[in-house]
């Protein structure tokens, strides 16, 4: 029911937006009537939000209809309405939020560990040729090892406790992040460095006051992307070695062919991702107003 309501609302908003742009006199004859397919065209904030919502609603509606009409066996793909219902019962009766919280905590702990290590090491790698030459081959080698292939090894090393999970997440992100950080630093314009030196900065002052500051916007973007990868590895880690967390919930439900619980678990991850990303985008905007 709720979905239907949103659908009508979204269409109304959209209709309003269209009416508003129709009222505007056409100043230039060749100016396109809608900005949908203009390369780097402009679109009002409202129209953008309306488009986003409409698109999501359409996807959900098609999914609902397709399963209701039996085009898709709901044993394999339950309709959204059932998924939402299941989501609710899982929250109220099966500690879904608690499991989601555990997973989120694992992701953030491992991510924080990766960041704390990768940022200074990445900066050192691109700032000092010696460090770069020493570490680059090693990092490159490990970076290409698929994390699942290292699961057995990490269980042998750390057992099936928290350490293994954190280790696997760290493994999946640290080596990628180190190279991204090194690249961000490498892309700091040489002119910035030279300005700093010619007004008397010492190398360390140049690094902290100028180079590190200059790289922050792209560093932030890379952190945001890496955080997303953490979730991928989290599910792997929780499937093989956990008795709680979202990966465990999904995997347990699969055993009983409880597709709607699997879907509910997947949707929860998607929602957490969506929320985190939106928050981080907002933080980015506030931190880097000058961009």
């Amino acid at each position: 029911m709720t979905t239907k309501m949103t659908a009508t609302q979204a269409i109304e908003v959209d209709g309003e937006g269209a009416a508003m742009s129709d009222e505007q006199p056409q100043r230039i004859a060749r100016r396109p009537r809608n900005q949908f397919f203009v390369f780097r065209g402009t679109m009002s904030k409202r129209a953008q939000v309306a488009t986003s919502i409409t698109a999501s609603v359409v996807v959900i509606a098609v999914w609902e209809v397709a399963t209701r009409l039996g085009w898709i066996n709901s044993l394999f793909l339950p309709p959204p309405s059932v998924t939402v219902e299941t989501l609710w019962t899982m929250i109220t009766q099966k500690h879904l939020l608690w499991n989601a919280g555990i997973s989120t905590l694992r992701v953030w702990v491992a991510f924080a560990l990766s960041v704390v290590m990768a940022v200074p090491i990445g900066i050192a790698m691109s700032s000092f040729r010696g460090v770069g030459a020493a570490l680059e081959p090693i990092v490159d080698f490990i970076r290409y090892l698929p994390v699942p292939a290292l699961v057995p090894l990490s269980i042998i090393w750390f057992g099936v406790g928290e350490t293994t999970k954190i280790f696997l997440l760290w493994l999946g992100t640290f080596f990628q992040l180190v190279l991204l950080v090194a690249d961000d630093m490498r892309r700091v314009p040489q002119e910035y460095v030279e300005i700093a030196y010619t007004v008397g900065a010492r190398p360390f002052q140049m690094l902290s006051d100028v180079a590190f500051r200059a790289m922050q916007p792209s560093l932030f973007d890379n952190l945001r992307i890496t955080l997303g990868w953490c979730w991928t590895y989290l599910i792997i880690a929780e499937i093989v070695a956990a008795d709680n967390g979202l990966g465990f919930v999904i995997w347990a439900a699969r055993r009983y062919m409880n597709t709607s619980e699997v879907m509910a678990g997947v949707v929860t991850i998607g929602l957490i991702g969506l929320l985190t990303d939106q928050i981080l985008r907002l933080v980015h905007k506030r931190l880097f107003r000058y961009l």
Binding site: Y197, T198, A214, L291
Partner: protein
Amino acid sequence: MAPAPYLVFDGVTKYFGDLEVVAPSFNLDIARNEFIVFLGPSGSGKTTLMRMVGGLETPSSGEIRLRGQAIREPDRDRGMVFQSYSSFPWLTVAQNVAFGMKYRLDLTPDRKKARLDHYLKLVGLSDFSDAYPNKVSGGMRQRIAIARTLAAGSDVLLMDEPFGALDAQRREDLQIELRRIQQQDAKTIIFVTHDVDEAVFLADRIIVFSKRPARMLEEVDIAAELGPDRTLELRDSERFFKLRTQVLKFVRAAAGHDN
């Protein structure tokens, strides 16, 4: 008695790989408080010479000495206005200018504030002090770079086409100001420009370069003709006009000159 050389190019050459940028071997003595202008065709190596003084490039052979000391690395005693006049996008206009004094421990915060206001006003940026560089025009960004370098208070100023993006009026004002600062604070300046009028108006001595690799083709002693004080009236004088024509002739010859 001739003044003791202050800044000395001693047999300097410069190669970038196989590319010979400064021909063997470049020699030039610059006195303290002298205003030197480099003129020459595009790509002749003027920026490269300045960067070597700044310590941002090393000569392939020979050396550049300041007060008898070979230059090895950049430092605050040689301020630069880069040809690209970049500023830091994350700092406001005022913060960018203040950055020139960031590493000066000899100035009190009050003194720094006073200098900041002074140089912002000098380049006409007081009203934009809180704007971010990406919101101001190219000419304003160039003025940020000029103010930052002046605020740093270096003894030697290396200015690479610093007035290129400015409108005629602002350019004239800043030329007069720069000349005044140079006289008053005893600065030694190397200034690159393609504008012959500007060169004659500012310089004590003009060096005209050949096409790459840079060789000194002509040396014009402007100070001997125009003296130390440069005023607007001078610009319209017969003396100025004659010098300008002469230098222009050298520049044309340099552009057509085959090495």
